[in-house]
């Protein structure tokens, strides 16, 4: 793990990137609501995804979870929710993690290596996981909100999901 000065810069840059995920995760929250609307286990699915993202020490475990659920429950494939989420977490967030890595490297380049310790190669992987966690956290919040306010997510049917009462 990087020195605390670098760690702070890293967390700040990840937080700034996280703010930019609002619109994308809103779209995914709406998609999840449509995908899981027919059953009562949608919340459990998203909660499991969030738990995996928070506990996994590698991105591949999160991706494996999405693959497994998409393979076993066709609802994950409704409106391409699973495949789109996979693409986002794998390709897009990996590209973002490279960008964050470079930004942090630039921001901390004035500090000498011996003083700060600098970024490690393994931090690329850690940044990717942190971004996945942020993304899934936003997605989960949007999904839960979409259950009670579908109109905010481009659905004007004004019908909330069956299981919205026990939120």
């Amino acid at each position: 793990m990087a020195n605390h000065v670098v760690e702070l810069a890293l967390r700040r840059t990840v937080a700034a990137k996280s703010d930019l995920y609002y619109e994308a995760t809103k779209e995914f929250g709406g998609l999840a609501r449509i995908a899981f609307a027919a059953g009562a286990s949608g919340k459990a699915q998203i909660r499991n995804l969030e738990n995996i993202a928070n506990s996994a020490s590698r991105v591949s475990d999160i991706l494996d979870f999405v693959k497994r659920q998409s393979g076993r429950q066709t609802r994950w494939l409704t409106h391409e929710f699973g495949p789109l989420l996979l693409k986002k977490l794998d390709n897009d967030l990996k590209a973002d993690s490279e960008q964050v890595f470079k930004e942090v490297q630039t921001a901390t380049s004035g500090l000498t290596t011996s003083e700060v310790g600098g970024l490690h190669e393994d931090d690329r992987r850690r940044i990717h996981i942190l971004l996945c966690r942020e993304f899934v956290r936003h997605l989960s919040a949007h999904y839960l909100y979409a259950l009670v306010r579908p109109d905010s997510y481009g659905d004007n049917s004004n019908e909330s999901a069956d299981d919205s009462e026990d939120l």
Binding site: S57, R58, V59, S60, D61, L63, D64, K67, R68, S70, G71, R72, T74, L77, G82, P83, D122, R125
Partner: protein, 149 residues
């Protein structure tokens, strides 16, 4: 093997997990013959064995089964090669662990075998998930196409 060494091994495998997943995806994309149950069965087999050679023998046995179609034998033969090739990666991991200079040959060999087994489990886990996903996606797309036609 002490606890600290084991922790270091797991960390090194975590670092390589993404690349292993990509390799498994490439392999799965080129073969894709497993059903969902077979994929899960393969992952369970990998988790149960305590030695990479046992796993390799299991895979080899699959390729020689009389019930396996000729065109599917290539999958098992290639998978065997993939798992065997992880030996080289296991040796790299072992070097990255910076073992003490007085490590005996026996300890070195055991550690590399253990690392190869962990890498193989990880690889097969990713391959299994990829197969389950690819099958379902293919089926879903065919149904969509069928409904649209």
């Amino acid at each position: 093997m002490n606890q600290q060494m084991t922790r270091k091994i797991f960390k090194e495998i975590d670092k390589r997990s993404y690349d292993l997943m990509k390799a498994a995806e490439r392999f799965g994309g080129g073969h894709s013959i497993l059903t969902s149950n077979q994929a899960s069965g393969l992952a369970v087999s990998a988790d149960c064995v305590d030695n990479p050679n046992t796993l390799i023998t299991h895979i080899q046995n699959q390729s020689t089964k009389s019930t396996v179609r000729e065109k599917d034998r290539g999958f098992w033969r290639d998978l065997k090669k993939e798992i065997e090739a992880l030996r080289g990666e296991a040796e790299q991991v072992f070097v990255a662990l910076e073992p003490p200079p007085d490590t005996t040959d026996k300890a070195r060999k055991e550690a590399i075998q253990y690392i190869q087994l962990l890498l193989a489990r990880d690889y097969i886990q990713h391959l299994s998930m990829h197969e389950v996903y690819a099958r379902a996606l293919q089926k879903h797309q065919e149904e969509d196409y069928g409904n649209g036609a």
